[in-house]
Symmetry: C2
Subunit: 331 residues, 2 copies
């Protein structure tokens, strides 16, 4: 059964990857409907060797599609996703708009695929930094039960979109040329610097990005007893999120056991041979569908703990790929 698929936000960093992913994975697309805001009027995209004009998103003209992949920001999702769903589409939404809505499934297909079935027209795609973490942690949780997670992230600028990638490049050139830098996307200089600030701050002192890692982990893992705390940090990397993940378990699990479990985990690759300088790296993860884990070692500071280093392409498994994988599991 071929499907009419809309991509809302088709010209953005994630939208472009959604379209590429649909094509690369041979998703049964009958017609592709790329949509974007007024700003992208007149733009064209390539799909299966053909040029397709990008249409302008408008409340007066919601197309009737089977699946709508949204990546156009939370505000547009809140406005348009229900309209697409009302016209019969299943919306898979990459924004934070619906993620914590108890009526809406939040899905990582390797972790909680069963949640897809209870959708009522909208399925939420989790935050990039959460997806890669839970994908690795779920199989370990099943075996040794996770008590607590302390995560610090090293997140690429592409998580903030194409403009953010330009900003890193332009600032880098400016610093090298000793010219003044310009900040538009990021509040402070990102070139040759790290920013402990992603998304906006909440009254409790955490950023929204940090609270996403806490709350989304609970919802996707379907276990609200896991204690989670997060510090999310932007680093001058174009693409590929890295994470330093400290995990305390209920029962002891050795690094060897963990590696054996993770070698069998779908979509996960263990790269863990420090003696040969082999560990996951952001630059190696770019354009790869898989999530990489390494530096797995015992945390001697607790009775049963592990440290690990998890890396994935934030635009793929962290966004576009995960959305397409959800679409692949729709009836």
């Amino acid at each position: 059964m071929k499907k009419i698929v809309a991509v809302v936000g088709a010209t953005g960093a994630v939208g472009v990857e959604m379209i590429r992913t649909l094509e690369k994975r041979k998703f049964p697309v009958k017609t592709l409907v790329p949509l974007a805001s007024e700003r992208s009027r007149g733009k064209k995209i390539k799909f299966r060797g053909k040029t397709v004009a990008v249409e302008t998103l408008s409340e007066d003209d919601i197309p009737r599609v089977d699946i709508a992949l949204f990546s156009a920001g939370a505000e547009r999702s809140r406005r348009f996703a229900p309209l697409f769903a009302a016209k019969g589409a299943v919306v898979i939404d990459n924004s934070s708009a619906f993620r914590m809505d108890p009526e809406i499934p939040l899905v990582v297909p390797e972790v909680n695929p069963h949640a897809i079935a209870r959708h009522k027209g909208i399925i939420a795609n989790p935050n990039c930094s959460t997806i890669q973490m839970v994908q690795v942690l779920k199989p370990l949780h099943d075996v040794a039960k996770i008590k607590r997670i302390v995560v610090s992230t090293y997140q690429a600028v592409s998580g903030a979109g194409l403009e953010a990638m330009d900003e890193l490049i332009n600032q880098t050139k400016a610093v090298l040329a000793k010219r003044p830098i310009r900040c538009k996307v990021f509040p402070r200089q990102i070139a040759f610097n790290v920013l402990p600030h992603i998304d906006v701050f909440e009254p409790n002192g955490y950023t929204k990005e940090e609270m996403k890692m806490v709350n989304e982990t609970h919802k996707i893992m379907e276990d609200y007893n896991i204690a989670v705390t997060a510090t999310t940090v932007r680093v001058p990397v174009l693409r590929g999120h890295s994470e330093s993940v400290n995990v305390e378990f209920e029962r002891k699990i050795t690094p060897d056991e963990a590696r054996e479990i993770l070698r069998k985990a779908p979509g996960v690759v263990v790269i863990d041979d420090p003696a040969k300088n082999k560990y996951p790296l952001a630059i190696d993860a770019v354009n790869d569908y898989r999530t990489f884990v390494g530096r797995i070692r015992e945390d001697f500071s607790v009775a049963a703990g592990l440290n690990m280093w998890i890396v994935s392409d934030n635009l793929l498994k962290g966004a576009a790929l995960n959305a397409v994988q959800i679409a692949e599991r729709l009836p």
Copy 2:
């Protein structure tokens, strides 16, 4: 009492800062004796407006000095520091050579100044990433007793020396120009990437840098009951180490209490106004003697925990300044 001061490794990233710091802090230097390896023969340095020739370090010609600041690598320290001490010098050694020797004090002047007195000719200067962390944590430990520390670092390339800074700059230019990159100092690309690898790997899967943070914290804080685990990561930043530090305490301490304590801590500055995008940043810490802490917030995943973000200039408080501060406390 003016002193004859040798700087061994005078042309390196830390050595240069040691000489600048002696001058800026008006250390009572009678004569400065800059020493370096054969490679630096013929080089000259500036001190108090005068040009001083760099002398070549040689076992046959150990100068008689009052204080010798060493930053020339662990191997040279092991070979030369005892020779300087035998000639009457107090050696303050920035390498890892003597740090864990129970006979040798390991000192952060704000934390354990009393340890200086028991030296027998050599005092060890701790690892950069440890200094800034314990400087902030000690005053909190005194009040609420630390049970456990989980730290992930974001360390600047200058920790690996001047060549490493050149490598980051050169690789960055190469990536921007789409030319192939060269790796000499770092095992893999550092430009637009992060490396979960600093110093060499140990059999337990940790790097030496990570184990330094564990072992040196115990020795400097003089409390072997504090559980510590660390993940140390190199980021494409030239100067200034950032750290995501998660701390579990024995008794509850609020972020406000912690800020109040830290505002009084010597050498520590609290920058913690997220609503105004104010938090410590590596680029702001460069050339500053102080250690900055912010993003202080409750860790809801334990009964009594805090997360914080600690930043300092790795070449100053993390190396040269700390060494000079030790020298300032010698009789």
